[in-house]
Amino acid sequence: MKKSGWVRKDLLGLQELSKEEIELLLATADSFKEVISREIKKVPTLRGKTVVNLFYEPSTRTRVSFEIAAKRLSADVINIAVESSSVRKGETLIDTGKNIEALKVDIIVVRHNCSGAAVMLARQLRASVINAGDGWHEHPTQALLDIFTLKEKLGRIEGLKVSIVGDIAHSRVARSNIWGLTKLGAKVTVCAPSMLIPLGIEETGVRVTNDIDEALKGADAVNVLRMQFERDTESAFPRQLEYFKNFGITTDRLTKAKKNIIIMHPGPINRGIEIESAVADGLNSVILEQVTNGIAIRMAALFLCAQANEKLKIL
């Protein structure tokens, strides 16, 4: 495993990373994937380090994935769930971060409903900050595990045609995937109703379409985003059934796609809203492998950031 090349104490997003940095993360995750496949799934890499999962948004899967990743590396893990609606009354994010740091915590994994929250925290703290999703901005470990899974399945990223379908405008998963995939040379298409396509997204180099069949045609993989109707505050949102009719990934639609098209989903899936059950559970689906790979990616992120921060402290 290459030990040089990663100098960041934080992992905040894929936009700021170079192709080489992303590749290093993926390669590091590869070694950790081997570790978690063993009978004894634990290595002493981060023994004596403390990781805090600071979650301002309810999340089970990402939090559990980070917790398992940290434990596989022998770190101590503490989970803090903060009721986000009462933030105004309570302690500020920075104060909370500084208090956690004062407890001699090494890594803070933060999930927050405001875009930029992890960036702000990282700037204020010496501890490492790993962004576990901030608003609509980025969710780097999710995109990394998506890319890792794709690479594992197809052997490469360069030249692949990947379509991302769903609420692109309000999706941090979409943004991180776009940055990561385009940096690694994939051809990315985003597909959604016009109102869910954010302004200027084509400037990232992606193709935009409102036609699901167009998005599926010739695609090597499709990443189906969770439709978060419950978080939506905009008016005139397409109703769930209408969405399924026009954009849902169904067996029927896939007959026109590549036979081996890879079906991905960041979870939790809404069966019958953005994806048909038969597709989610079908042979092309890698949804559960994504979950497994998430641990390897998060181990890599924790490991690389902790290691880089140690070097920074010496300097």
């Binding site: 500020t92 405001c114 702000m120 608003g135 954010p198 200027g200």
Partner: protein, 427 residues
């Protein structure tokens, strides 16, 4: 008390003068401006190599008092003004209480009388409580010395009320200052709508939310036969609308703020809440359009929109942080750095934008350096550079958009009503 300012380059935009001359101040007035004045004076200032300008007039300042004395007070705000070379400010009415009744105005006037160290003019609220529902008694506000009205921070949504405001303001001969924003369009936006807002995952504020309201207010002013002053222009369409309205003969004037001709939305990558401003920093092409508007006279003046906020209101999540930046202490230097140095404006034009035009628009007898004019004068070293640091601010709040920047142009002296009210100390 007499002051003699020797050998500075004196700029009086109204007379079209920019010459090396001496200025003699006696009492509160300028008594002579000419070459080589030999008079005795209590204080002699050598201004060789410096510019001697009329004290700046900033017609868009939030002094926050009464109500939010933790952000700024009349005392701290006017002290900050002097440091920036500003000798007159127009205080915005979005205080608590709002400046919507004679009683509230008397309260503010009492504070000003006691605490102000520069000239403070008062802008009244168009509607009671700035709620946009019920027109203030504009004649009564005028009776208390109000020279302009605005609901700044909010636009009056109701066309009927805004139209009535233009008519009443005309009768009372006060200026209507239009904060142009359709909040139905700007919604919960926090930065300019565009690729940067997409990239950062932040809600966008469209240019439309601004210029549609500029368009409406120009229409209402025209129908009422009144006069409109468009505040803090930030986008190209607004510039163009004002340009066309002026050509058509409408009595319209406009201002922009230093951040709109010097910074664009790209600066927001990194989520610096000190750059969270309303209207938001726009695109690079909007910045160019604002500069063009300044150059061709479409935009009459530069006003800071000085909007102090405490650290507690800024050092939080971007979505939750307050909108606004302080500007009094940096506006002249930003204008020198970004406009004069880049050849967009010359010194007389700069004086026009920051002193004589605001004086004309507000109808106050200021903004000049000539025999008999009030002795409000700023002496600037045009070449000296300074580093904008948080701890250098006199204002109670430090939420500057220019922290960490090196700016050109240092205010050495500010003379207000014939007294040296600020003098740069050597650090």
């Amino acid at each position: 008390m007499t002051i003699l300012i020797k050998n500075g380059r004196v700029v009086d935009a109204v007379a079209g003068i920019s010459d090396v001359m001496d200025v003699l101040i006696e009492g509160e007035l300028v008594s002579r401006v000419s070459k080589d004045i030999k008079a005795q004076a209590d204080t002699v200032i050598d201004a060789a190599g410096k510019f001697v300008l009329p004290g700046l007039i900033d017609m868009h300042v939030h002094l926050r008092e009464p109500g939010r004395e933790d952000k700024e007070t009349v005392a701290s705000g006017t002290k900050a003004a002097l440091k920036g070379g500003v000798t007159s400010v127009l205080a915005m009415p979005n205080t608590a209480p709002a400046m919507d009744t004679p009683e509230h105005l008397r309260l503010l006037k009492g504070i000003i009388q006691k605490a102000a160290v520069a000239h403070v003019y008062i802008c009244g609220a168009i509607t009671i409580g700035r709620q946009g529902k019920e027109l203030s008694d504009i004649m009564a506000l005028k009776g208390q010395g109000v020279i302009a009205i605005t609901d700044d921070g909010d636009s009056v949504d109701d066309e009927g009320i805004m139209s009535e405001a233009f008519k009443k303001a005309k009768e009372a001969d006060v200026l209507v200052i239009c904060h142009c924003e359709d909040k139905k369009l700007s919604a919960q936006g926090v930065i300019n709508l565009g690729f940067v807002s997409t990239q950062l995952g932040l809600r966008g504020i469209s240019r439309e939310s601004e210029y549609k309201r500029v368009e409406r207010d120009l229409k209402l002013a025209k129908e009422a036969g009144g006069r409109a002053h468009i505040a803090h222009i930030s986008c190209k369409e607004s510039v163009e609308l004002v340009r066309r309205a002026k050509k058509s003969g409408l009595a319209v004037t406009a201002e922009t703020a230093p951040h709109y001709f010097s910074l664009n939305e790209e600066a927001l990558v990194g989520y610096d809440t000190n750059l969270k401003i309303n209207p938001p920093l726009r695109s690079a092409s909007d910045v160019l359009a604002v500069r063009d508007g300044l150059k061709d006279g479409t935009i009459d003046c530069i006003a800071s929109d000085h909007a102090p906020h405490t650290d507690n209101e800024k050092e939080i999540e971007f979505d939750r942080a307050e909108f606004g930046v302080v500007g009094l202490e940096t506006e002249l230097s930003v204008a020198i750095t970004e406009l004069v140095d880049k050849g967009i404006l010359d010194w007389p034009q700069l004086v026009e934008k920051m002193a004589s035009n605001p004086a004309r628009i507000l109808g106050i007898n200021k903004g000049r350096i000539t025999a008999g004019s009030g002795a409000d004068i700023v002496i600037v070293d045009p070449r000296k550079e300074w580093f904008v640091a948080k701890d250098g601010f006199v204002s109670k709040s430090k939420n500057s958009a220019f922290l960490g920047r090196v700016l050109k142009g240092v205010v050495e002296y500010t003379v207000c009503s014939g007294k040296i009210a600020y003098r740069k100390t050597n650090e």
